[in-house]
């Protein structure tokens, strides 16, 4: 009976000591062993480790890439333009002891980094006009911010890996102005396009009109020429014939003209019986 109790107690004590002295360090973390509050050991490789139970305790610090955000802040670019920028930084704890001494824990680090990041953004963006942010120099700006943050954060055992600007927007009142400008820009474009359409159409129409006039005029010219040729030829023919006896021609032509012009329907003839025409009529009387 007693023996069994002993064994049980011994096993329990052994387990207690074992659990107090063994600890595992996660792949994602560094372990720091404290002895009466003093950091005595940093364990950087994951796995099973031993500490002195009850005297030493262990804290874990993330060694993955961590994230800190800088909230949207209105900053002034060097050309006095206001711009709302937010950014995030990726960092990693590289010197755990230094980290514990200076910022204590992750929350402390975030607060500090946040402030460092903001001031770096203010400094760097204040040095450039706004449109630098809107060119391929943006990457360069981010690098500058990163370098600034990097050198300051180094003191906290932190390595800043990357700083990225998330947004770079104009303040709302500027946005309204931009919307207005975009709108008027488009209206301008639309008007221009329509006017160009009208211009093009008018050009096509007037060109068509011109061409048709030219065609008709040319045709008229050619027609008149042709007719003239015909007239000339006819006149020549008439001349040839009629010039043989101009006296007879006059007589003949006059008769033809009388025949043609004194039509039967609308002419009334008042004839005198003394006329040459009735000479023989009178004779009979």
């Amino acid at each position: 009976m007693n023996k069994i109790h002993y064994v049980g107690f011994a096993a329990f004590a052994f387990l207690m000591i074992l659990s107090g002295s063994l600890f595992s360090v996660d792949q994602r973390q560094n372990g720091v062993v404290f002895q009466f509050g003093e950091a005595v050991r940093v364990i950087e490789s994951p796995g099973l480790n031993i500490k002195i139970p009850f005297i030493q305790n262990v804290q874990f610090f993330d060694k993955r890439i961590l994230d800190v955000k800088a909230e949207a802040k209105e900053l002034t670019a060097s050309d006095e333009k206001r711009v709302i920028v937010d950014a995030f930084a990726k960092f990693r704890i590289v010197n755990t002891v230094e980290f514990i001494k200076t910022v204590h824990n992750y929350q402390g680090a975030q607060l500090r980094l946040n402030r460092i990041l903001e001031s770096a953004m203010r400094t760097v963006i204040g040095k450039f006009p706004l449109n630098t942010l809107l060119t391929d120099k943006r990457a360069n700006l981010m690098l500058q911010i990163r370098d600034l943050t990097y050198s300051e954060a180094k003191n906290f055992g932190i390595e800043v890996i990357d700083v990225r600007i998330l947004k770079a927007d104009l303040p709302p009142e500027n946005s309204t102005a931009i919307y207005m400008r975009m709108q008027t820009d488009r209206e301008k474009e639309a008007n221009q396009i329509r006017a160009e359409g009208n211009e093009e159409a008018a050009r096509i129409r007037s060109k068509a009109d011109k061409e048709s006039k030219i065609i008709l005029a040319n045709a008229y010219m050619d027609a008149q020429k042709t007719k003239g040729l015909g007239d000339a030829e006819a006149a020549h023919l008439y001349n040839q014939a009629y010039s043989r006896d101009s006296e007879f021609f006059k007589f003949y032509a006059s008769l033809n003209t009388y025949k043609a012009s004194l039509s039967k329907e609308n002419t009334q003839f008042v004839l005198s019986p003394d006329s040459e025409f009735f000479k023989y009529l009178r004779l009979g009387k």
Binding site: R64, F88, M182, A201, R205, I215, K227, G230, L255, Y258
Partner: protein, 354 residues
């Protein structure tokens, strides 16, 4: 048979549920239980049997299944030990080795600028219009200081499980933040016209390249599959004006088309008219000449006869002409004596009726 299956399945699930708990608390309680039981009922041999049984069960707990498309990372005392592939696998039970299973082959999607409503999507007749727009994500500044609204999908999957698990906190969020930043960087570097025009392919390629480049820096263990530009629109405030530009373009086309159809109408007409005029003139020429020739030859013919007997021909011609003229017309023959002072000369037949 049915009963057997029932028992089997019924037995199985409570086993698996209770196993993990057993490791910490229940196990000790059971030990105590056994102690108590032992005191009252059993001998040491049975204690060993029971303990052995419990240890066996505990060891059996190490079997686990990795499904197709998944990978498992086995962590021994916190240290990454190995990855396990789909199938039945074994690890040492809980305090020694732990397990993280992730669907590595699964294509994951990050929605930027909008959130699709998942519930609706599962229903029949899913409505994409029900997607919520996230203005804070979708609205951004272009290189020429215009504002544009973009919706983007970024598809990715886990390419290296241990990197994914151990290198970055909240990798999914990291991918999202990096994507957003990359999109804004690329768009912020371009005039709005090229974003709205047909350069979308080029833009997505740029964004994809930038995201990949940044993520590589983090060793995040993620592979970007595709960046899809779903929507690239001018902001609501200005979209009407943009649409009007499109209308204006159509209007322009219309104007030009109308003018061309006018031209296509008028030119052939003119050509036809010209041809008509020319033909007419040709006709006139031939006609005039023919007439002249005819007249001349007729005159000549008569003239030949006239030369033969001038007096007779002259007289005959004169009388012929008079006959023709006077044949049908009204004639009044008046002598010199006794003429009425008034003569009802009717100029036209119409006066008769009055």
């Amino acid at each position: 048979m049915k009963k057997y299956i029932y028992q089997h399945t019924f037995k199985k699930s409570p086993w698996e549920d209770s196993e993990p708990k057993e490791n910490i608390f229940t196990k000790k309680r059971r030990d105590q239980f056994n102690f108590d039981n032992f005191q009252f009922n059993f001998n040491p041999k049975s204690v060993i049997w029971i303990l052995g049984g419990i240890i066996l069960l505990w060891l059996a707990n190490g079997f686990y299944k990795v499904e197709e498309g998944e990978e498992a990372a086995i962590i021994r005392f916190g240290k990454f030990n190995r990855t396990a592939m789909p199938g039945l696998n074994y690890k040492l039970p809980s305090p020694f080795e732990t397990l993280e299973i992730e669907k590595v082959a699964q294509s994951r999607r990050i929605e930027i600028g909008y959130r699709s409503s998942g519930k609706l999507r599962n229903n029949i007749g899913a409505d994409l219009n029900k997607d919520r727009d996230i203005a804070a994500e979708s609205i951004m500044l272009t290189g020429d200081e215009n504002i544009i609204e973009l919706n983007v999908d970024v598809m990715w999957h886990i390419s290296n499980l241990s990197d994914y698990l151990f290198n970055v906190t909240d990798p999914e969020e990291a991918v999202k933040a990096v994507s957003e930043s990359a999109i804004r960087e690329v768009i912020g570097n371009m005039p709005i016209a090229s974003v709205l025009s047909n350069q979308k392919q080029e833009i997505t390629e740029k964004i994809e390249g930038l995201i990949k480049q940044i993520l590589e820096q983090y060793k995040i263990g993620v592979a970007i599959e595709q960046v899809k530009l779903l929507k690239a629109e001018p902001p609501k405030e200005a979209i009407q004006a943009y649409r009007d530009v499109q209308t204006a373009k159509a209007d322009k086309e219309k104007e030009i088309n109308e003018a061309q159809s006018y031209r296509n109408n008028i030119l052939p007409k003119a050509r036809g008219e010209a041809a008509k005029i020319l033909e007419e003139s040709e006709g006139y020429k031939v006609e005039v000449i023919a007439k002249a020739e005819g007249d001349a030859s007729r005159f000549n013919a008569i003239y030949e006869q006239y030369l033969l007997n001038k007096e007779v021909t002259r007289g005959r011609l004169y009388l012929d002409a008079l006959k023709e003229i006077l044949y049908q017309s009204d004639k009044v023959i008046m002598g010199t004596e006794g003429v009425l002072p008034h003569m009802a000369v009717k100029p036209k037949a119409s006066t008769n009726s009055q």
